[in-house]
Symmetry: C2
Subunit: 240 residues, 2 copies
Amino acid sequence: MITDPHISSAFDRDLEAVQALIMKMGGMVEAAILDAAQALETRDEELAEQVRRGDAAIDALEERIHAEAARLIALRSPTATDLRTVLTVMKIAAALERCGDYAKNLAKRSLALGQMPTVGDSAGSIRRMAKTVELLLKDALDSYIQRDAHLAAEVRQRDREVDQMYNALFREFLTHMMEDPRNITACMHLHFIAKNIERMGDHSTAIAEQVIYLVTGALPGDPRPKEDLATGPLSAKGGR
Amino acid sequence: MITDPHISSAFDRDLEAVQALIMKMGGMVEAAILDAAQALETRDEELAEQVRRGDAAIDALEERIHAEAARLIALRSPTATDLRTVLTVMKIAAALERCGDYAKNLAKRSLALGQMPTVGDSAGSIRRMAKTVELLLKDALDSYIQRDAHLAAEVRQRDREVDQMYNALFREFLTHMMEDPRNITACMHLHFIAKNIERMGDHSTAIAEQVIYLVTGALPGDPRPKEDLATGPLSAKGGR
């Protein structure tokens, strides 16, 4: 509806500023994921503490993005695709904030696990899973910045790998617990960590789906290729 | 800044419409929590299926609230407290959506658990915990509608009870798993369920904190009274 190029470009300029904050936040969350996983593997208490404390800055950035996006709506009154874009920015910020929380939780649990005997090479497997998810999140954010529906669709597909890694770890933990009850407490922590990394993958997928909606105007047609409880290892163990 | 009473009341009218949707969404989420917990205790597959399918309607309502709140900002250009109120509505809707997801997950896990032997009276304990959280969520939403900072502060305090219930259940599950490895798979499900209910309590607390901020203009001064990993049973078991 707005044809004045000055008003239009003011919106674009404001949007770019908010998007720069999103990329900054994305970088912080990616670093937190990798650092937390590394702290777990190398039993680096200082690094874990750093991730734990660093989450406050991520939360503050989400607040700021939320407020600036709202101000953008109030000032520029965007409609149609522009409004949808700003709402997508808010959703991406919320998804990143959740991922930051999970990284913080990973760091806290790695501090607790540092006092327990190791369980096989599970910390190494978790670090590899975290690396996979970090790349997924990075590509999900890139697909937003570039409005690249193909890359977003690829992110959705690749989340399957993360689900498979989680399922494999879950079986591994069950085996360790059944073999030796002294592993149970550590495995409970490790299982939560694996589950939370898998959830970061889900958030990356959710970002990718927002991008597909933004670019194509339609949500992905096929059901999300997530391997959930109905087909996952839990229900198999349950004999369903 | 806006002094025209017509514009001011148009905002209030629009806000009330969005708030009605929030209360409707709250009612749906509360019912989902109670139904899912009951389905777990009575092994009612049909009820669990109903909760699982019902989550789509909760998700759709969040989308609608998000869109209407954005439209409200675009149309009425609220500032200061009014803008903060609309942003709070969006955050409450997002928190409710998460709680709906947890209820759905509870329902899915109860379907898997229906095929396994029961573990003590854990399903009864979980139902009581779910009831406590449902009341907490209800009061958090009421504190928003009534802009009641006292009720919101009470919700924050009462979340401690939920944390304690979770901690007690966690110890119970550990004991069952160590006593008999055949309980391990069921206990992993039950532990996730308990953790997710505890997270619903956290979301209720987050809503209460938004209300306190909205009413008093300041975030609660004392640190959130959450019993987290640092003082909880996990780290105690870890010898920290």
